[in-house]
């Protein structure tokens, strides 16, 4: 991608369209964070393409002063794949929801990840279908009563990180709508990653699933319930910054530095670049009440990106071929003169 020196401010990325999400919707903060991130990233404004499906979250492109495409429900992944493969020089951002991306769009989701197309995917997870007014989604917790599950759902939800890893994901990060700064920095890392970067953003829908992430965001306890991972840094968290994640023979556990003989050096150091997905999966799957929820870049493994490989194959063949135009092709092989 053509890189340019940063010369924008967030406002440059605001479009002239009125933002139409409910007051208090988590989407506002995410929009804000994306505009900040775009201002910081080294791309030209005209090189951004923001592609979404259908959903409240998918209204996103209208509010961004970039090239934007509000497509059809579930297909943002496939359309974004086409955009990026067609022109690897673009910085392509896919905006999707838990319904758009994981229900109807589930197949494109796992296949874009498998191919490792150089896309940045923002999955707004509010555990509900917002736009259609409150039906359960593939991330809705078992038992929840919604418009279409009056007696509670009987479906096991996906864990986004686990699905990403199952589909051979090279990058998975998690962020939170209440933390604009963290979203911004996470998106910058997503941009830097070569391949499909999946960023799950826990988002609050004030209308249909209000406080669905309340356990995590609870002001009182959030330091104890949120673990911010950084590559190369120890997995320390807590109000007193004295808790950490350790590895035991049964898997991960939470320990307190200074208790039971635990020293700071016993705390795991985060390695996002490890190819084996096992620890990343454990980290992505941590949930309360026994664990904090992990945020930040959980996995970022270097592999070839599909779009680059495609471009390279075309270039290689073109370097070798003696055919320069369709005239050559048409006249190739067996022909005869009349």
């Amino acid at each position: 991608m053509t890189e340019v020196a940063n010369k924008y401010v967030a406002k440059d990325f605001k479009s002239d369209q009125e933002v139409r999400w409910c007051a208090g919707c988590g989407d506002h903060a995410i929009l804000n964070a994306v505009q900040r991130a775009f201002a910081e990233l080294p791309h030209k404004k005209e090189d951004y393409a923001v592609i979404s499906g259908i959903g409240c979250s998918s209204r996103f492109p209208y509010y961004m002063n970039t090239y934007g495409f509000h497509t059809i429900h579930g297909r943002a992944g496939a359309i974004a794949s086409g955009v990026k493969t067609a022109n690897p020089n673009l910085s392509v951002w896919q905006i999707t929801g838990d319904g758009d991306g994981l229900a109807i769009g589930g197949n494109h989701f796992i296949h874009e990840i498998r191919r490792n197309i150089n896309l940045n995917v923002l999955l707004f997870n509010n555990e509900i279908y917002g736009l259609t007014k409150g039906q359960y989604s593939p991330t809705t917790k078992m038992g929840m009563k919604t418009k279409t599950s009056p007696f509670g759902t009987v479906e096991r939800p996906f864990k986004v990180g686990q699905l990403v890893i199952g589909a051979e994901g090279t990058f998975f990060a998690r962020s939170l709508d209440t933390n604009i700064k963290h979203i911004t920095s996470t998106l910058i890392q997503a941009d830097q990653h070569k391949g499909t970067s999946i960023v799950e953003i826990l988002q609050n829908c004030v209308i249909f699933s209000d406080k669905i992430h309340g356990w995590i965001t609870d002001k009182e306890h959030k330091e104890d319930r949120q673990l911010y991972l950084e590559h190369g840094k120890s997995m320390i968290f807590g109000k007193e910054k004295n808790k950490g994640i350790i590895m035991t023979s049964h898997g991960l556990a939470v320990a307190t530095i200074g208790e039971d003989g635990i020293k700071e050096s016993d705390i795991l150091v985060h390695d996002a670049k490890k190819e084996d997905p096992f620890i990343h999966l454990m980290l992505a799957n941590m949930v309360g009440p026994d664990f904090p929820v992990a945020f930040g870049v959980i996995r970022a493994v270097e592999e070839d990106a599909y779009d680059e490989n495609v471009a390279k194959q075309v270039a290689d063949v073109q370097a070798e071929t003696k055919f320069r135009s369709m005239d050559d092709i048409l006249a190739s092989g067996s022909t005869w003169e009349v």
Partner: protein, 614 residues
Amino acid sequence: MDKQAKVVDEIVIRFSGDSGDGMQLTGTLFSDASALFGNDVSTFPDYPAEIRAPQGTVGGVSGFQVHFGHSEIHTPGDYADVLVAMNPAALKANARWIKNGGTVIFDKDSVTEKTLKKAEFTTEDPVKELHLDGHNVIYAPISTLTQEALKDTGMDKKSILRSKNMFALGICYYIFDRPLNFTEAYFEKKFAKKPQIIEANKRVLKEGFNYAANIQALPSYKIEPATQENGLYRSISGNQATAWGLLAAAEKANLKLFCGSYPITPATEILMYLSQRKDMGAITFQAEDEIAGICTAIGASFAGKFAVTTTSGPGLALKTEAAGLAVITELPLVIVDVQRGGPSTGLPTKTEQADLMQALYARNGESPLPVIAASSPSDCFDWAFEAGRIALEHMTPVILLTDGYIANGTSPMKIKKMADMPTIKNRIAKANDENYQPYRRVDKELLIREWAIPGTEGLEHRIGGLEKMAVNGNVSYIPENHEVMSHERDARVKQVAVNIPDIKITGDSEGDLLVVGWGSTKGHLEDSVSQMRAEGKKVSFVNFNYINPLPKNTADVFKGFKNIVVAEINLGQFVSYLRMQFTDFKFHQYNKIQGLPFTVDELVGEFNKIMEEN
């Protein structure tokens, strides 16, 4: 070869055998040799849906028909002058396709208790049981002589017998006076690294040829090279021609091609041919399904490529929602549908014209787009090019219909020079154009919006599937705007007619009967009309390639005839479409739906009946 060759106009030969007998290759080689010799050729492969159907059964028979001659050839022919049958099952499956007095070349070594049983014969003489004894039957000991020819090569029996199709081919080359050198050259290229195989094939081919010469069982036919336009020719299948026509359109529009597709019979080869063209800068994206196929193409179109997606009927069904997105966003896109027998999975390897209504109407809401159809293997090149031209010049998705019959069949194609083909004017907007607005109609007559491609400075904008305000392209729920935009979308497609030629009549512009067809039935319909005109009947013919919109002079053409009959390989879709457009005419219809093309015979019979009864 001092025999007297009988000169004839045209010949139909059908190769048939077990799926494993290599009949498709044999037929192709014969067809190529004939084309290279200068004949006009039309072919029709006909094989079972299974990769390998059970050996020796009638269901497992694979056939390949070649029609060649010294004047123009429009169809692969109805009935065979010569049938090559490699086993009893092949004989049985094809008995009814032999012309009265035709010739049968039959491998007499293939008759065993087992093969007779598998083909469900009840007697020991398959020829007699099928009442073929009136025909000119050559009982050739093909297996034995093939083994004999190769006995000292050290090859095992199975490998040896794999060459017996070349023996049969050799017989045919003798009979029709074809030169062997083209085919020998093919062996040399194909098996460059296996000299033993080259030698074996050459030897068996020659043995077959010699055997036929030796038995002098039937006169050799001679067909002069066809009286075609001068030029360089090649043999091409419909799918290959489609792929190359699309590539030619990309080149003339100065764009790179992007194809997002999912494999499906009988369309897969288009994707295959395009995937070979990385040298032309073409990108093929084999998607996870048909929806992703069209969606990646829509994404690529948004990003400035000449985007196409290729499929067959069931795949088109999956693409219709996304096709609507391309309609409302007015993005250029070619959707190729190689029709096959339906409904549902239906008859996947057989031909049919039953996706017309699907192409025209299978989208939610009022969602019009241009539809065109190709008529022969080689003209798939021109129609694919034309689909690209319309898509790019009119900023619209276009559906191109071909079908299994022309997609798999081959015909000779006169090679065009790219310099002689029309330039395609694309509608790309210029950087920093302050007048740019997403739905501004830069051509007021054609109602075309501009293509502002991501990466272009100063043209950042948003498009999408929600209704958009005229000109500025913002989301709009204003009732009157929706009506305006609905009419504009409708008018945009109607205005495609501005740039398409009038339809041409074959025959007189007035008469008793106008035969109307569309797409791949052209050859058969044309031949049947020629035959009737030769008998002095006042019959003419028009073939539609532009389906939506129809050519401007359509009603004028219809006016000249007492009767109009629309013939299709379906239950009457085009005739219904004509009835809703032209309420002043009565249309007769003739339909066949057997997974097979028409035969000229049946058409002539049917048309005569209509003329008598009306």
